[in-house]
Symmetry: D2
Subunit: 339 residues, 4 copies
């Protein structure tokens, strides 16, 4: 950590800063510049909040040298991490992994049709919502545990793994019983109780970036899961809030190479939520793969016009099959493969 | 709801739109403009997701006429709502209500000193965190139930009410046992299980705006609590995420008059989190009152330099007392009072 | 335009709205819903500001049916537009067009080395700044007309076209004398005098999106140039301002398919400014092409470590040649070609 | 400037960094931490772009110690600056200065009515647009020089000073001939040619913050004017672009105390553009004064329903008079006065 003193900071103020550094068990290093004195804090700064120095008089600013996360950093774990699901599908290796299925499980028929369509296109991981966090209390909230059972059965028919969202700590055991991968949605990225709970559940975790969260905060959220002893965490960029209103969210494509640089955890993108409209999903999916993403999360519905949620952004079976063709060609163009 | 058809939409596409409208139990009204056909959907559109029409071919755009929330709207409840806490303190009436205290309860001594300072300045509601949602898993996470007991006892010594944050549904009963008002933090604004749980807890709720959430979403979140039968919900603007990095967040001061227009629920502001630095808290607190806020939420610590969290943005006792003087004068200037 | 009246609007207020509609030469169409009256305005609304109705009492909201731009819309000009530069290079057709060169022209040697490197990699359009808009008055501001001459001469040696930025109306003739395409930078996207001036200059225009501008505003800016009689306008997404600080800007990848949908003007991306760091340029360039962009604008410097501006985001010759290889493969994967 | 080396930077990379520091005429200071080496750059870093170090291998990040502006900083000029206009009105002292008038000058009658209304309410500076930068080429663009003459004559009748916008360098002399203060609009905040031109015009300048610009960039823009020898620059916060759509822009109220801390230049707010709707102007104007702003810029129209631009956000005479009453009371509450 680097402490930049104010232009007119006194010797007494500096002395208090040095005393605080020592009290916290660090060493210090003073550098007097032409207009400011700079104090280096020497030691492992990660658990320390910069505020403990910012609050002292005479301090202008405090700059972190190290990131606040450790287990999630590429410095700590340099080689790419590969997550293997129960059915052998791998995320984070040479092959692109696509997870697809309906936004919400609505009926057995709907789920079976969606699963058949995505399986036919080569998909090995079925997604589908059982517990739906909805902005309005009057919207469809999901079928709950009934949907978990359906997901498991339908996925098994096709040899697929299941990924589904969990929205509260008390549901973690039930979801972990039926699903192969637990999804933390964007609105729960900083639900720390939930992060701790999935950290202990022994299942791979798919962590979506909050729509108002920085990449550093995403890695701090991953750190909660990793610190719980769970090494299998994948990150997913799904669009952030910006001033642009032409699309529901703005996919932060830069996040793909930046995350690959910051961490060795696998990185996915969710083009469906990022654009909010079916006809823009495929170009953005291709872009994600071209940028280096390890996987995609895509909403597919057998009949989007009848969907109970997210119909406008869901691909139907044939459109999804065409998307998969495109994704495969782009993956090969950059030296990777897609199932 | 208004459906704008594409320029070249066919008669067959229009017919399907009309059929969908009827199938949902609504009537329709067609208006042919010079370049577009517009279809009005007549009936109570609130429970309907615009997507059910957006997904149909030939539809360009769907515009809501009514907001997606009802109970929270001023149309539904025109008169200002006033929340009365257990000790008689009122929020939403003529008098400004200030809630103050430490970010986190750290020790009995710290809490007593903070409570004494804010009580001396006229404050009737003590705030303090027992369960702390922290960005990093390595930061201080709060004292939990031990802190709840301390808050209750210390508040009672001064005749103050207690407001404290609850971060997961299972903690709601314990928090409701000790506190007079349950706070939902910004990171949990869309934690719908938690919103439903506090909706049923029978205690007034302080709902903070998510840092990436629109005002409409804030009212939708309030709708969850109101729909649970709990009419005592106060809203709190605490700064949103923008591109500006000079302050931690950007206080959306426009939100105060806009919310007062949209809803009759009381509106507060939290200047401490919005600016992140003690010397900017007072001017922003004054601004909030001048804009028409019904209350303030302010972090006060007997010794900010020693705080375990949020020290940099906490006022000490004397600075807080000066802030209260300023707030009182501004309140009077606009025809209100502050305790 | 659609006018949504307030819940309790009176008959007299409605009558004034109808009178205003008629006074502006439009017809109206009234639709009474369950809770609101809706008034349709029939006629070409494009030149009308919604404010002329918003300001009337009893009006809650006004919604545009048509976009505020016309010449720039795909409705008006359905087929993709192709811009042909003086040397025969085409933008907007099947082939991807890459424009590359140094941020600023610094010396003849620097420019020649950069030009040789990009020409060797197959580039047919040389970029380079003569007039530099710099955030700080103390930064290098460009060589001005001297640089224009160098650009022309060096480009001619390689049969390349020249694109360079113009920052004030009075420089337009000089720049148009030497360059084949006039660039409007992000900070000048809403410099309407400049837009009008380049609209009349008879040279193709490269219009960069403002970093705080919506896609609709970008098309309105293009409308200024088109309305000046200049049909050769290309749009360029170069990153917008968001809360994320890991990269200098956030490339809005969604903008590519969305713009292709809204307009038939060619769409480019500038990965160099969008990420601000050389090692992230190539993945984002690939993503842009995969999303459907018609061209790229890339900063290349023979020795980035010595650049007077934008060194950190400039590729050197070998890195650029590798980027071109990647771009070619991705272009082919989606059925296009790159020189 | 502080250079943070990568975790595994080599001695050779460090040596090159040190050589670059020396080549630029600075001294260096090395501090070896537990995981990173930090290099301090000693000397006046202001004219140096951090990129000259960022681009070197082995460098992870470069942090500025000093801001990139100097003349605009409070360090350089600690006492509050006061701008005195030709009619003796002062901006930046104890008294709040309100500038008011129509968005655009439309007719002599309209201007006279607006001027009479604001003069009656105590206003000493008349605002009004002669050259209007409009988002759409089809909107009213202002009356140009004819409006300048009218502004001067009408203002003189009331002993008022004139502030009006200049949008291109070539218009600066004409505007400076008629107006007492030159306004740079938000869309031109980074039009550096224009900033330089007004820097040399010898008239006080009102510089509005760009809607996507940081406070640091605002001060850098002010630096252009100050570096031109013009010390009379006032800054104006007028709302920034955020994800919130309930208001046209989001007024950054934090900017008021933050700017007062960073600089001694006067700070104004423009509530009209920040909220975009007349009924929210007064609360936000009060908030700006309560936060410590030195002045207000307010749109007033004798008949907003007939305005050619910005009607929806314009106050009429009586509403403005009430706003002034409120503003006076709030100013007194914080120990200031308003005319």
């Amino acid at each position: 950590m680097i402490i930049i003193m104010q232009a007119h900071a006194t010797q007494a103020q500096l002395a208090l800063v040095l005393a605080r550094i020592e009290a916290l068990g660090f060493r210090h290093h003073i550098s007097k510049g032409s207009e400011r004195t700079i104090v280096g804090v020497i030691g492992d700064e990660r658990p320390v909040d910069p505020e403990v120095f910012e609050v002292l008089e005479g301090v202008e600013r405090v700059v972190r040298v190290l990131h606040s996360y450790k287990l999630a950093s590429r410095d700590f774990h340099p080689e790419d991490r590969v997550i293997e699901l129960a059915n052998g599908a791998k995320l984070g290796g040479e092959e692109i992994l696509v997870m697809a299925g309906p936004c919400a499980v609505e009926t057995r028929d709907q789920l079976e049709a969606a699963a058949a369509a995505v399986a036919a296109a080569g998909v090995r991981v079925l997604r589908g919502g059982a517990f739906k966090p909805r902005t309005s209390p009057y919207s469809f909230q999901g079928l709950g545990e009934k949907a978990l059972v359906m997901l498991r059965e339908v996925a098994d028919e096709h040899g697929m793994a299941v990924v589904t969202e969990v929205i509260t700590p008390e549901d973690v055991p039930a979801v972990a019983d039926h699903a192969d991968m637990l999804q933390i949605g964007a609105r729960n990225m900083q639900n720390y109780k939930l992060l701790s709970a999935v950290g202990e559940a022994g299942r791979p975790v798919l962590l979506k970036r909050g729509l108002g969260s920085t990449l550093e905060e995403l890695l701090q959220a991953a750190e909660y899961v990793l610190a719980g002893g769970n090494e299998n965490v994948a990150l997913c960029e799904r669009g952030i809030r910006t001033f642009e209103t032409a699309t529901r969210f703005t996919l932060d494509i830069n996040a793909v190479p930046v995350l690959k640089h910051m961490t060795s955890l696998p990185v996915m993108i969710d083009p469906s939520h990022a654009v909010g409209r079916a006809d823009f999903v495929t170009p953005v999916a291709r872009a994600g793969i071209a940028a280096g993403a390890d996987g995609l999360l895509v909403e597919v519905h057998p009949n989007p016009a009848e969907a109970l949620s997210d119909g406008a952004q869901s691909l139907d079976g044939p459109a999804f099959a065409r998307m998969m063709e495109d994704v495969r060609r782009v993956a090969e163009a950059i030296g990777r493969r897609a199932a």
